[in-house]
Amino acid sequence: MNDFLLHLCSYHQPRRVRVIENVCQNHPTVANLFWAQQYSLINWLGCRRDLDRAEFNGELAALKKAGLISLHDNQVQLTAAGVSYQEGSPVYEPHFFDWFWLANTRRIEQRFLLGIQVVSEFAYRNRRYVPVHVPYSEQGAVKAWFHRYASVQLVQQVARELELLGTAFEGEDEQLVTAFFAGLVGHDGSGQTIAQLSQELGLNIGEMMVINHDALLGISAFAKNTTGPIARLLQPLLASSPLSTSCWQTINMLRQGVGLAAIAQRRHLKLGTIREHVLTAAILAPQVYQWEKLLPSQDKEYLKHKYEGPVASWQFVRWGDNENRDFFCFRLYQIIRGSEENG
C-alpha cells in the first residue's frame, strides 16, 4: 500500500478529493489554489505530476480498505486509525517544499539525470551507452549544454557541486542524501528506483516519493542560488516567482493605480482573466498588494455581516445584479480572511 496521500489528509478537516488530486498533479486554478490554501497544502502543488486518475483512485481505495481514511461526499478524512498509523511509522519532514513554485520537478529530474549521466560517461571516456529515456526536448537541452561546456574541468566542477549538494542534503536528513545519490544514473550503474530505495531504507513507497520530490526541489533551489554547470543546465527550467509573467503584469498595473476593467481593456484580456490573476496573486503572493483596496466599502460591509466563522464553511450567494463581480468580491474576501485565519 502506498501511503503518500495520507500526507495530504487531515483528521480534523474533511478535504475535497478532487482538490487533493489537482494539488498533486499541479492544476493551479483559483478554486484549487484557494482550497489548497485552506488545507495548508499549497507547497504540495505538483508533488506528483504523473499521477493519473486511476492510480489516484486506486491509492485512495487501498487506504480506505486499510481503514486509514474515510470517504464521504467526495471528501476524504483521516480516521483515528490513520492518525495512529502516521504516529507509528517514520514520517519524513520535507525541507525544500517552500520552493514548490520554482520548477516542474518532473522536467528537473529528466534533465538532471541525463546531464549527470552524460558527465559520468564522459568521465569514463565512454561514448557507447544507453542514455536515460527522456523527452526529445530534454535530450536536446542536455546535448547543447554538454557540447558547450564539455572540458576536462567539467567533471571536476560537477563533482564539486555534487559534493556541496550532498553535504547540504546530509545536513538536512541522511535519507535525503542517500536517496539522491542512490538514484543517479551513471557509468557505474543505472541507480535505484523509488521502490528499491523504499525497501532499502525501510520506508513506505509514499514516504520515498516525498523524499524524491524534496530532493528535486532541493536541486532546483541549488541551481537558483549558484552559477556553476548544474545551474547552467537547470536554470532555463526555473521560474522567477510563484506568479506567471502575465499575472505580474496585471499586478504591476494594479499597483500603478489602474482599475481592473481598464487593465483588461489595455491588455486585451477578459475581465475574468484579470480577476483570476488578482485572486491567484492574493493566494500565492499575499504581500505584493493591499487586496482589501479592491473591495468596495459597501460590499465589504455586506460580506462582513453575512459571513462569519471558518471561511471553508462559507457558501456563496449573490447579492447584486452581477454574479461574476459578486463572486470575485466574495472569493477575495474569503482569501483575505482565510489568510488571517491561517495566521
Binding site: D52, L113, Y124, V132, P135, Y136, H187, D188, A195, Q196
Partner: protein, 480 residues
C-alpha cells in the same frame, strides 16, 4: 548483392561471423529489391534483418513499430553500439520539438515510428522529403491482430507505402498462422506472389513447456514462490495488472533474497530505464511485469517465463515465452492456471460498442466524439475514415468472435492432454515433433527433476550506502 559484402558488414558492424537460420535468406531478398515477409522464431535476431541492409543502402530505414517500449529498446541497442543516427517518432514528441525533429529527419539513418504518428500529415510530408530505402514493419502480426479494435492506424500502412514511393518493404514477425500471413500481405497492399516469404519454425526446442494446475489463487501464490525459489537464473513473471505486479514483487522480496522488481507502464520512465538496465546487468533477477515489459528485450540468459494469468491468445503466449533462452540454453515456460482463469481475459476483451445512431450523430458532427465512451478515439478513427456505423459494428463483432476463439485455443492449450509443443506447432500449421525435455506431459515432475539449474541464494547482503563512494564511482574520481 554480393554475399561477401553482406558477410563483411556482418563482421565489421555487428561482430558476428555467421548468420542465424533465415537471416541471410531474408537479407538477400531485401538487397535483391524484393518485398519480404520474414517469420522467424523469437530470439532469431530480427533487428539485424533491417539494420544490416540499412547500412548497405544509402538512404534511410523507416521502422514501424507497435510499442514505444519496443522502439526504445531498438534505439537503445543501436546507441549501445555507438550508432547515434537512430530516433523515435511517437506521440510523446509534440509541438516545437516535433517540428524540429521533422526538419532534421534526413540526419537519421534509422527512424522508428508508431503507426499513430504515421497518419499525421506533417509527419508523412517530412518522410516524403527523406529518401526511404527500406520500410520495415516490426511485429507485423499486429497488423492482423490489432487492426479492427485496437490500432486501426495499421490499416493506413498501405497508403503510407504508396505515398513513400513503394519502398522495399520488410514485414517481420515471429508468430503468424497462414491466415495471418495472408492478412499481413494484403493489408500492406501487396499480393502474395510479389512477396518473398522466409519462414522458419516457431518451435524453440530449448524452452520446456509446462502448465501448473492449481486449485485456487492461494495455491498459485505458493507454487509461484516455490518455483522462483528453485529455478535458477533470470526470469519474467507476467501479470494482467500493474497492481498485482507491484504487490507480488513486494511480496516476493519479503519471502526471498532474490532481487525482484516490478515493471509496468505506470512507472516513471526513469524507473523503467533503471529496471531494464539492472535486469540486463543481472542486478535484478526477477521481473514482475505486465505485457509492457519484454517486447524487444534482448537479454540472452532469461531462464524462465511464468504467466500468473492466462494470456489471451497462443500467438501472444509464444511471443512472450520467446524471451526465454535466447542463448540456446535450457529454459522453461510455465502457466499457472486455476479453474476460471479464462474469465479475466474474457472480460478484458469486451469493448462497449456505442449505439449506431450515436455514431451517426458523431460522424455528422452533431455530437462530440467523447460521447462515444472511454474508447471514443478508437471509434472516432473509423468514423473519420468514412466507415458507416454498421460497418464499425460488423468489424467489432467479427473481431470479438475471433478473439474469443483465440482465447478458447489458449484455454484448450492449458487443459489439453496432448504434447504442448505439438499443440503449438499444429496451431501454426507445422509438423509434429518429438524431443526430450519437451513438456510437462512428458516429464510431470520437471521442477523437482531440475531441468534448470537450482537457484544459488545470494550470500552477501549489500554493503551500507556511502554517498561519497557513489560520487567517486559515478564520476571516476580517485578516492583520497
Amino acid at each position: 548483392m554480393d554475399e561477401k559484402k553482406i558477410y563483411q558488414e556482418l563482421r565489421q558492424r555487428f561482430g558476428f561471423t555467421e548468420f542465424r537460420d533465415g537471416q541471410l535468406a531474408t537479407i538477400k531478398a531485401i538487397m535483391g529489391g524484393h518485398n519480404t515477409l520474414a517469420v522467424l522464431p523469437t530470439g532469431g535476431g530480427k533487428s539485424l534483418l533491417y539494420q544490416l541492409p540499412g547500412y548497405l543502402m544509402a538512404e534511410t530505414v523507416l521502422v514501424v513499430s507497435p510499442l514505444i517500449s519496443l522502439m526504445q529498446d531498438q534505439v537503445d541497442r543501436l546507441h549501445r553500439r555507438g550508432e547515434k543516427g537512430a530516433i523515435m517518432l511517437t506521440g510523446q514528441v509534440y509541438g516545437a520539438d516535433r517540428q524540429r525533429l521533422l526538419q532534421n529527419l534526413a540526419n537519421y539513418k534509422f527512424i522508428f515510428a508508431s503507426p499513430e504518428l504515421l497518419t499525421n500529415q506533417a509527419v508523412v510530408k517530412a518522410l516524403q522529403r527523406v529518401q526511404i530505402s527500406l520500410l520495415t514493419i516490426d511485429e507485423a502480426h499486429c497488423i492482423s491482430q490489432w487492426g479492427p479494435d485496437f490500432r486501426p492506424e495499421y490499416l493506413m500502412l498501405k497508403q503510407l507505402r504508396q505515398v513513400l514511393g513503394d519502398p522495399v518493404t520488410l514485414m517481420l514477425t515471429a508468430t503468424a498462422t497462414p491466415a495471418v500471413r495472408r492478412d499481413i500481405i494484403q493489408k500492406v497492399g501487396l499480393v502474395g506472389d510479389q512477396v518473398v516469404t522466409v519462414k522458419r519454425s516457431v518451435n524453440r526446442p530449448n524452452i520446456f513447456l509446462a502448465v501448473d494446475q492449481c486449485q485456487n489463487g492461494e495455491e498459485k501464490r505458493a507454487r509461484l514462490l516455490q518455483m522462483v525459489t528453485q529455478l535458477g537464473g533470470a526470469g519474467i513473471i507476467y501479470f494482467s495488472s500493474r497492481r498485482l505486479a507491484n504487490e507480488m514483487a513486494n511480496w516476493l522480496n519479503t519471502q526471498t533474497k532474490i532481487g525482484v522488481a516490478s515493471y509496468h507502464a505506470g512507472m516513471s520512465s526513469a524507473d523503467r530505464f533503471r529496471i531494464q538496465q539492472q535486469f540486463m546487468n543481472d542486478q535484478v533477477k526477477l521481473i514482475c511485469a505486465t505485457s509492457a515489459f519484454g517486447m524487444g528485450i534482448d537479454k540472452e540468459n532469461i531462464r524462465f517465463v511464468i504467466h500468473y494469468h492466462l494470456p489471451d491468445s497462443l500467438e501472444n503466449y509464444v511471443q512472450e515465452i520467446g524471451r526465454a533462452g535466447r542463448d540456446g540454453k535450457q529454459s522453461a515456460a510455465v502457466i499457472l492456471y486455476a479453474p476460471g482463469d479464462e474469465q479475466l481475459p474474457r472480460q478484458l476483451l469486451t469493448v462497449d460498442l456505442p449505439p449506431a445512431d450515436l455514431m451517426q450523430a458523431v460522424q455528422r458532427g452533431k455530437v462530440d466524439e467523447k460521447a462515444l465512451g472511454p474508447d471514443y478515439q478508437l471509434f472516432s478513427f473509423y468514423l473519420k475514415h468514412h466507415f458507416t456505423p454498421a460497418q464499425v459494428e460488423l468489424a467489432f463483432t467479427r473481431r470479438k468472435k475471433r478473439r474469443l476463439a483465440q482465447l478458447q485455443v489458449m484455454t484448450n492449450y492449458v487443459q489439453s492432454a496432448e504434447c504442448r509443443r505439438n499443440f503449438i506447432l499444429r496451431y501454426f500449421d507445422e509438423s509434429a515433433t518429438t524431443q526430450e525435455r519437451c513438456c510437462d506431459h512428458e516429464l510431470a515432475d520437471w521442477l523437482e527433476t531440475g531441468i534448470l539449474a537450482k537457484r544459488v541464494p545470494p550470500s552477501l547482503k549489500s554493503p551500507s550506502f556511502d554517498w561519497h563512494c557513489r560520487l567517486a564511482s559515478l564520476l571516476n574520481l580517485v578516492k583520497n
